[in-house]
């Protein structure tokens, strides 16, 4: 028996078991969440390649699964990342108890988790691009549902990821077979351009963000959060593995400066458009683009602390988005409810839902005492020495997304349009209060999350010497 086989087959079996109990969203949320936690424990702590005893029986679980000439390997270099992935999945599936998304989120969502896990495990890691494509396919099934039949965002996502997959596969072949180094500038230029195209799509760098706003406008907020968390986390890890594996890539003149410029452009673009939105879901879509830009600024520092901050920001995003999406799902009950006018007074209809949505957004902006603040503050202090302009971009992001959060707070606290009240069950209340508390707790004590999340990249010996 080998660990990758166990991980992937159990994930598949969980997906099937979740598909069976129809119309029981709580059971589905519980099975998905508990199953993901168990798989995370397995990935993090199982003894690999050495025999051990279970109930008196000798068991040996190997780290490698060879299949059709390629290998899936779970070892010290990636087990923390796989564990983080499944724990993030468990957190999101648990929160779905409140958000009640369509049931594809559990069934297809688990398959997407398995696909991203496989992208971490596959050797050579270049073929992770294929698994990201599968994840994008699953993302379409999660985003487009009978409640949201609009397919525009989903189809664009699929198109873009397909093109990215091809660009990365060709670039990967060039890197491995044509002897691309800093001594072959023309080949290096071609390979870098192809990689830049691929990662621009994966990181939703404008204009490759085109799938996000239409998807945000119509899809269930929780489904959107799940998709963006999964795709972006996988994309960031993939990018870091490229930087870790190819020394010449890190030495391409101006590479990190270019990444910072792209990050600055994303931050400015996302920040300006966040203020201009009149739909709550689209506010989050553009706030996300801003957040991806900040993450690229962290990668663009080109120093280990910067990479760690990028991973930490990625971990914090899981909490921010889940808290925002749980709250949004409570206040956005009908399609079209996300319009500015329709949300007037929503805080009186569902106070806890409104508080959760606003705190998630404020944390995304990097408000003090929220989970988003410590990472941005630390990044700001790093960037002040390396690239002051990038530091100003982070301040712009804080001001613009923060202004949007205040504007929507004003709307949610406005005069209610009707006397309707959306009640919450005890469990929903617990989840919402727990999410808000976690957001504030991680703002006050970032050491609870950051060291652990950055451990996910411990196997990248070149980036983290």
């Amino acid at each position: 028996m080998n660990a990758p086989f166990v991980l992937l087959t159990v994930t598949g079996a969980l997906a099937i078991s979740v598909a069976l109990p129809r119309n029981r969203p709580h059971a589905q949320a519980a099975i998905s969440s508990i199953g993901s936690i168990l798989l995370a424990i397995f990935a993090l702590w199982i003894t690999l390649d050495d025999p051990f005893e279970v109930l008196g029986l000798a068991v040996k679980i190997t780290s490698t699964w060879r299949i059709l000439g390629r290998a899936l390997i779970l070892d010290e270099s990636n087990r923390a990342a796989v564990g983080f992935l499944y724990l993030a999945g468990a957190f999101i599936f648990g929160g779905a108890w409140v958000a009640r998304p369509n049931r594809n989120l559990y069934y297809v969502g688990l398959l997407c988790l398995g696909s991203v896990a496989a992208s971490f495990l596959i050797q050579p890691f270049l073929f992770a691009a294929l698994f990201l494509e599968f994840t994008a396919m699953g993302a379409v099934l999660v985003l487009v549902s009978p409640e949201n039949p609009n397919h525009r965002g989903g189809l664009r996502l699929l198109i873009l990821y397909t093109l990215a997959m091809m660009a990365i596969l060709i670039a990967g072949w060039m890197l491995d077979n044509l002897g691309v180094t800093s001594a072959t500038p023309e080949l290096a230029h071609r390979a870098t351009m192809l990689l830049a195209l691929g990662f621009a799509v994966i990181m939703a760098v404008p204009p490759f963000h085109l799938w996000l706003p239409p998807a945000a406008e119509k899809a269930n907020p929780y489904a959107l959060s799940f998709v963006t968390i999964l795709l972006q986390s996988a994309g960031l890890f993939f990018l870091l593995r490229f930087l870790d594996s190819y020394t010449w890539l890190r030495e391409v003149p101006g590479l990190f400066e270019m990444i910072r410029w792209v990050g600055i452009a994303m931050v400015c673009f996302g920040s300006m458009l966040t203020i201009a939105q009149r739909t709550f879901s689209k506010v989050m879509a553009y706030a996300l683009i801003t957040d991806f830009g900040v993450m690229l600024l962290a990668v663009g520092t080109g120093i280990p602390e910067g990479y760690r901050l990028a991973l930490g920001l990625s971990g914090v995003r899981v909490v921010n988005l889940a808290v925002w999406a749980m709250g949004s799902a409570k206040i956005l009950h009908h399609r079209g409810d996300g319009q500015f006018q329709a949300l007037q007074g929503a805080a009186y209809r569902s106070p806890l839902g409104a508080a959760s949505a606003l705190i998630g957004l404020a944390s995304m902006a990097g408000f003090p005492l929220t989970a988003g603040f410590p990472g941005r503050w630390a990044l700001l202090s790093k960037l002040a020495k390396i690239d002051p302009l990038a530091g100003w971009a982070i301040i712009l992001a804080f001001l613009c997304v923060g202004a949007a959060a205040l504007r929507w707070t004003n709307a949610l606290l406005g005069s209610p349009l009707d006397e309707r009240v959306v009640s919450s069950t005890l469990t929903e209340t617990l989840f919402l209060v727990g999410g808000i508390a976690m957001c504030i707790l991680l703002g006050a004590f970032p050491q609870l999350l950051y060291p652990w999340v950055t451990e996910a990249a411990a196997g990248m010996a070149q980036l983290f010497p």
Partner: protein, 203 residues
């Protein structure tokens, strides 16, 4: 030299023609038949660099993808009209001119664009370029799931013709074949959702 290699020019021209027909036709039955034929010719081009059995496996995956879309179309009806975005001109004359121009560009690029790949034959490189060019044009014209799906499958077929010459491992080929099937499943899902049918997946 086998007859497949001697007559490879037929496959290369045929993928260009089928790619063009996929853009020009709005008849769903004809579209699927053309896509299936395109898979036959793409497999022919793949067989120039891989054993015939492996190329046949690719053909089977492609035909399965066609079958999946066909089942969904049979559920939602074959006669629905495609909706073209208002911003894109969709008259037949415009499409014919666009197809001719793009094929000309592809013909001009075909010999050089894959020059970095050491083992690809000239005819396969032209075929790959035609497929990718026609697929991209298809994506530019339509936002309707069937047409977009066919465009994506065409692009991936073209990519595979070139990529299999440099990466012949079975695992990668199996994964790429699964991409075809996955896209077909996604297109079917979107078709059923768009028509108001409930896919099984949804319960």
């Amino acid at each position: 030299m086998t007859w497949l290699e001697e007559l490879a020019i037929v496959a290369s021209v045929a993928v260009a023609l089928t790619g063009a027909l996929l853009i020009l036709s709005d008849n769903r039955r004809l579209l699927l038949a053309t896509l299936a034929a395109q898979y036959v010719f793409a497999a022919w081009l793949v067989s120039l660099s891989l054993p015939l059995q492996v190329a046949a496996a690719k053909l089977v995956a492609g035909l399965l993808a066609c079958a999946i879309i066909a089942v969904a179309l049979a559920n939602v009806g074959w006669s629905d009209q495609f909706v073209t975005p208002e911003t894109i001109p969709s008259s037949m004359i415009f499409r014919i001119i666009a197809v001719c121009l793009v094929l000309l560009v592809a013909f001009g690029l075909g010999g050089d664009i894959w020059s970095a790949l050491p083992k690809i034959s000239t005819l396969a490189s032209y075929g790959a370029t035609f497929l990718i060019a026609m697929g991209l044009l298809q994506l530019g014209f339509q936002e309707e799931p069937v047409k977009v799906g066919i465009g994506l499958l065409t692009i991936i077929s073209g990519f595979e013709v070139a990529y299999t010459t440099i990466e012949p491992s079975l695992a990668v080929m199996a994964l790429l074949a699964t991409v075809h099937l996955g896209i077909a499943v996604v297109v079917s899902h979107l078709l059923l959702i768009g028509s108001g049918e409930k896919p099984r997946l949804e319960g």
